[in-house]
């Protein structure tokens, strides 16, 4: 029985740690993306997001990003990490990220929420 109690406590601690540690890394990637030149920012996009961006715009990633109304980065207001997903609220925009073998990559950027209803998703300039 004691083993089961320790197991439960261990699962909670591990699950909690896996959410707390990478907040700084996700925030750093979001800030780098928001302040980088388009060519560099393209290297921080998740593969599916990059493919969708190029498909929708009909041009290369850098040109497509340059043509979008992406607000700058600014200070980090809030970071939420949940498992392999993250959301970083910057002064100028909200950025969503996912964890890949090479680190955090941006899945959606330039996001704003016109409707405060928690069931309504963000509208993003770049999204998968």
């Amino acid at each position: 029985m004691l083993k089961q109690l320790i197991t439960i406590a261990g699962m909670v601690v591990l699950a909690g740690c896996s959410a707390a540690v990478p907040q700084g890394e996700a925030a750093a990637v979001a800030q780098r993306f928001a302040s980088a030149a388009p060519a560099e920012a393209c290297g921080l996009l998740a593969p599916e997001t990059l493919a969708q961006l190029e498909r929708r715009s009909g041009e290369g990633c850098a040109a497509a990003l340059a043509g979008l109304d992406l607000a700058g980065g600014g200070a980090v207001h809030q970071v939420e990490v949940a498992g392999e997903s993250a959301q970083v609220k910057l002064a100028g925009q909200v950025v969503f990220l996912a964890r890949f073998p090479q680190g955090w990559l941006v899945t959606a950027a330039g996001c704003h929420k016109p409707d405060p209803d928690p069931a309504e998703p963000y509208e993003c300039e770049v999204e998968p």
């Binding site: 896996s18 073998p101 928690p118």
Partner: protein, 226 residues
Amino acid sequence: MSRSPRSSLRDNSLSIVFGLLLLASVAGQAVVGLAGYNEDARVAGLAEIGMLRYLTSSAFAVDVTENWQSEYLQFTLFILLTIWLVQRGSSESKPPDQAGPGSDAEERVGAAVEPASPAAARAGGPVTRLYSMSLTLLMATIFGLSWAAQAVTGRVASNQERLRDLLDPLPMGEYLLHPDFWSRTFQNWQSEMLAVGSMVIFAVFLRQRGSPESKEVGAPHDETPG
């Protein structure tokens, strides 16, 4: 009193076999759970993860703990309610005239304590009172911890999907009111209540020769084993 390894194995065979079945079931859950997780990740264009990462993920933990909490709730309720509630004819119940916490003589404590009784039963006073409910207390504690773990890990797992869907994550207070938490909770509770309730009533009319969970094959339906 030394026992040979073979007789020790036989004396503990029920616990050992269920321990092994638990490990095999958790291993099976981990393998297919990881496959399902990675299939979802592939569909969403996200990275697949390895077994170690999955075993420490909230997605795995919530699936485990939501089942654990309901099992321990079931046992906590069953142990407690069978003190006072009965089912005439069921091997899972006391006889109707024995409902209640029982006398010291029936429970072999106080003046009726025996030399071979556990030390906590012989101690008397608050120690024996605490020991008298230790089984329920432990079961209830594991239930509470498992349910809390389900809430903590369920929120992270749910928020991971919400962030994939470009939704704001839910704080704990909101997650505890969210359908995801209560759906996981109630779907497990209902199956436990069904299992216990049906076992109690099936045991009145049906038999399994040789099992202590059953009355003797020839026992009358209205006979409640004491």
